[in-house]
Symmetry: D2
């Protein structure tokens, strides 16, 4: 159950005496009931703080016990709900909207109020996000706790509304305590240490932007890494390479989004990426006028898995031969990727590939594909080294999005169109 490496390191090295008798630990749920019964708002802060702190030092079993109690014993006032249901069923046409609304409030599980009351304590938001991360970790084995998770998700979705987020540029003048988290959270192309980081955030032709929430200062929610380049890159090595030549920002022609990382496990399902990319596009366009090419250099995480498990006769694999050993030739892999990205679909008509789905939903266009573009183990095992450019053209985003969302149409360059056809 994750913590920043710095904090955990400190905890390891400080010899903390247990600050209170742990015999009461089993009572976390009782303390929560007490908290809700409290009608005084302020005296509740102390109790709420205690619940949160006690939770944090609980072991995994105690946490599961706590979740079980939350899921079961913080339901609704059944009598009131029965009445509300009856009112709704007998409502006149005029009154039906309000009756449904009353039904909605009557059916609100007490867990939601509990989470809101816990959140009153300064600093609680981050603790609640970590609590949900714990819950998500056990959810695959505990489908009975899924309902509980919907309460967390519902509230977080409201609290982490785009309007409450702040985009910040992260640079070499950013506090080390934040940069340390960037190193830890980078999920796509690992950061090899402080020297690598310094290049990604401090070089004049590199930028890194993140979203932050005011109640979680210094804690990025998501960040995107951008390279300013003279042309659209065809391999990750062109970007992450300690010996590369830097360019002056004013000589750049293309902004490349080469990595986007969600930082908070506890915020799974709350989407920020789309907003972040478009905000960054807007910011760069304002800072460097005349700049108009915004592309990604993206992995194709589902390609190899799809190819290796495709049914016979799948048109995506037509003309492609699965290699027995090693990978396919770069050109073959590239052509396969073009077919895969345009033709492999999920139910409902969306793209099979999750990264493709993300960018196409955002209104991007499938612009180019490159073989032998990511030679790392991950790159090999995901996509035989293929990487892809998605193009964000502000003038077409809206149209592309609609076509994809409504009809499953994948926007693509003519080059990709013919490659996919061959």
């Amino acid at each position: 159950m994750a913590e920043s490496s710095f904090l955990s390191d400190i905890l390891r090295r400080v010899s903390v005496a247990p600050w209170r008798d742990s015999s009461r630990e089993a009572d976390l749920a009782s303390m929560c009931h007490e908290l809700l019964s409290e009608r005084s708002e302020a005296s509740g802060l102390i109790l709420a703080r205690e619940i949160l702190d006690r939770y944090e030092i609980s072991d995994d079993a105690a946490k599961v016990t706590f979740f079980e109690a939350l899921a079961r014993s913080f339901g609704v006032d059944r009598e009131a709900l029965t009445t509300a249901v009856a009112d709704w069923e007998h409502a006149s046409e005029d009154g039906v909207v309000d009756a449904a609304r009353r039904l909605h409030f009557a059916a609100e599980p007490q867990t939601q109020e509990l989470i809101r009351v816990l959140n009153r304590v300064p600093g609680a938001t981050a603790q609640l996000v970590r609590m949900r991360a714990d819950l998500l970790a056990i959810l695959p084995d505990r489908p009975d706790l899924r309902g509980l998770d919907t309460d967390f998700r519902h509230l977080f979705s409201s609290w982490f509304n785009r309007g409450f987020l702040e985009m910040q540029r992260i640079g070499w003048s950013t506090p080390a305590s934040v940069l340390e988290k960037v190193i830890a959270y980078e999920a796509v192309h690992e950061i090899a240490g402080w020297d690598d980081l310094r290049q990604r955030v401090g070089d004049p032709d590199r930028k890194l932007f993140g979203f932050f929430h005011p109640a979680m200062p210094g804690e990025p929610l998501i960040f995107v890494e951008v390279a300013l380049m003279v042309k659209i890159p065809g391999a990750i090595h062109d970007i992450i390479n300690p010996e590369r030549e830097m360019i002056a920002p004013e000589d750049a022609k293309v902004a490349v989004f080469y990595s986007i990382s969600n930082c908070q496990k506890g915020l799974r399902g709350i989407s920020f990426g789309n907003f972040l990319i478009k905000q960054v596009v807007a910011d760069i366009a304002q800072e460097l006028p005349g700049f108009d090419t915004f592309v990604t250099l993206s992995p194709v995480p589902g390609l190899r898995r799809y190819a290796e498990s495709a049914e016979e006769g799948d048109p995506v694999l037509e003309g492609f031969e699965l290699p027995q050993e090693g990978g396919p030739a770069p050109d073959a892999a590239r052509k396969l990727a073009a077919k895969y990205l345009t033709q492999a679909k999920r139910k409902g008509g969306t793209a099979y590939d999750p990264v493709a789905h993300f960018h196409l939903s955002n209104g991007a266009e499938f612009h180019d594909a490159h073989g032998a573009a990511d030679l790392s183990d991950t790159g090999q095992s995901n996509s035989w080294g293929v990487m892809v450019n998605y193009l964000y053209d502000p003038a077409k985003t809206e149209t592309n999005h609609h076509a994809y969302a409504n009809d499953g149409v994948v926007a693509m360059s003519s080059k990709m169109r013919s490659l996919a056809r061959k």
Copy 2:
């Protein structure tokens, strides 16, 4: 429909050409439906911004039309709700909590989602708060819109959670743009201008604290004014008096809360006062250790109204003669206040007086009463000049609160006890 005086002054003096054709104004509600139908998050920002801006320049009639559409046409998916109701009614004992939860989500009116989506636009929160202020202003005449208001209130209550608020000291180094709002929002003892303000925020024996929300920077939600004094004051003139002698903070023995003002009409019903007072008590206690007396000097807004409309034989008025002209003698008024504050109740056993109810709920004690303490017109017309001290004793707050909340017991000093008995 309120705006800061600065802004409205600028608007008056700038000759703004209408920035768009107003013919579409009637379509605000249609634009909202379009916004919800949008599956793209980012392209929705532009539409949301347009809805909010168009709303702001609408006239009162257009706003009412908009509210009517919101209340009526953003209901629920009735089919889904019918199913959820049936599921709940047939749920097993084990499944009833989750069934109620699903019912809750199925019954959520679309207005809530609409408000959340509008809020994604940077700066939208303040606009939505003003929107609700508009709604509240017409609510007395339009009970049919009350349901709509519960949606606003529900969301604001979640968004303006104590955990998201920041307490700030407001002083003479605070931006003038914020100080100007303090002048405008002071609701208890009017601030006569910048010189008066300078004393209230800049004098070494005066303090002013407010709560702010990160999404509404520079916009106080509530503030409280504090005077550091050598003894508990018996009249507002001891505090607000340009010729008074200042004292050095380290000579003070008593911190007096002499004014508390809610600033945002659109946040009515979301309570901050209790949290603010207790936070200020904690802050002052930390800054000036040894300091232990925290009192209010409070108005008694309901006293005269109660006395003049009391039924014959009301024991509160026993021995008190309603004056025909002018007010009662200060001593008589003071004694009346003591009886009134301890005996005049609303249904449910809470204090009749709203200010008394606020402080007693917070766990304060009714400590003293003073005649001829507020000689202003308001003071006369509210309470024949009587003012009252409520004492916040951190050691007793919890007990007082419980006794009042559970049993309607009013904590009071022995002095007030005997005064009320006489």
Copy 3:
């Protein structure tokens, strides 16, 4: 002996007991000798703080006594100086520069070291600036103290080097404690109160910029007020007028410097104005590209004084008749101003008018003159209401400056040239 009105007001209202026996007050100079004899740097801070604080509460007579002691008893080591002089006189050609340098250091009065040591105390810089303001106030009657003043001026000139100053935009979000000083320090067109101020700093077509020194936070050294307008103004009423119509900044064509005020009496002779104007020009040019007309609307403070005391036959007054009563006709006054500004000179060939001299030295051009442009009493008594535009054309500044500095040539528009000739 000036203080901010806020501070003096607080001091008036706080009953301050004298914090120490004043019998030692006559010993300020002895304390200074003790301070210099101290070889320990840190223990000296306490003594330095005491000297500064004691000085501040001294009365005027005690301050004069202190200055006399400073001027007389903090001289040089005469023996060392005699040796250094001899060395210099006998220095070889190769060694003469270093010999002069040693002579320079040997001749340094101890007052300079004293002022530097006093300045080590946090906050001392502002106190030393006030100390010099006191000294300047008595200098006209005490020419024997002029030498002392050169030490202050020498050090301040080094400490308030342009490289150490920060330009800040002062707006309606600036702390009230700074804005209050702007009201107090405005020296050209009085600010009538907070509403007037709010227009000058907060209106979208008004700007105010100042220089600050890091050791005197919140204390402007100089500020300039700028109006963004559609055309070059011909009267101060076009600018300072509560009922005027504002314009959007992007509609402006001209930036008008209509007031420039030095704030610190104790920094007299240290010039900031030239740097400030050019920095503001650069900033506005960057913020609003395409903007290229920068003018002043300036008073002509010496015009009437010159005209009324001119000798017979002075060519400046040729064709002008001194009015017996009231002022001259606007056109006559305007023509007189054109002649006066181009022909009335001081010894050395610089312009007689101090404001003209300031702008011409900076490389500005005398662009236009207007009668009946300042109808205030000051405007009448200075210049019969005439005001003048000086034009700052970045392309010509350098040339204009050289021509004026080297040859006394006044740059002027052809319009002014012909007006002055008529």
Copy 4:
């Protein structure tokens, strides 16, 4: 000729085309003469910027040529100086102070004015400090340039006055760009990388404080590292040890200054250390009241050098036998150190050891000595592993300082007194 490693790294990787023709490079001195002849302040900024930038990209030989020209050709007005000398020689007793003052100003070398004018450019201060670092580097071989250095030193001493410095706590939330410099500048106990740094600045029982100048933001001038401990440490390993146990700050009894590093070669001779230590003592005493033991754990850099080059019969070495191989026994080395620190003197009676001299001048007491306390190569080669505690007792600082400064008396604990005597 030092630069931050980050900057130099960027310069290495950016392929910078030379931005201007270098043929004029030899003319740096002529440009300086032009700058001083300029009477316009603002047009001079461009010229000054050009001089500074051109200097920075000059090679070493060109820099030396530039220094030679500065030293030779920016002397005084000899005629004016001759007159001033004559005036001084004939001055009356009353006028002699002012005559010396005029002589002082007449003898000021033009280099000082040149340096002041160069400093007007934003950012110039750091460039001038680097320029002096270059000068200092060649001074040992060029005694003829020492006079020039006195001008730099004189001005820097005034500009970097204690009153202009800001002390800042440097922690794990400090920008990485500053932390990187701490790693680079640490001069006593090398910082092994970011993990080591994180412990030194981020652990709850470690602190690091530095002085900064407003004109050199992000650039520490000096910093001191502090460990909070339960007892006075006897070896550096107790402090710098990745596996050590941390303690909670409130359990600490002793604050240990274990490293103090000057950062700017160009500020040699401008002393900050004394002020910094005492400011840190004051800050910690305020933050953690009750805390009263402040000691150093210091190296003894001159011990071995002194012992190995001492003359026969030196009483410091009485009873000590120089080891032929390896070092002396820890006890023997410790005893030698006690004698050395109290008896080995320079001319003038100050301590031979530079670190001892620094702390004794500050009023600290020689408190304890430890053998085998620094096992690093440096520790061995400096002092056979001996380290020393100096104690800062605020109550005795003043007395200790005076006794040492006036009479060369070394304050020491009775333990050290008897050790030195044995």
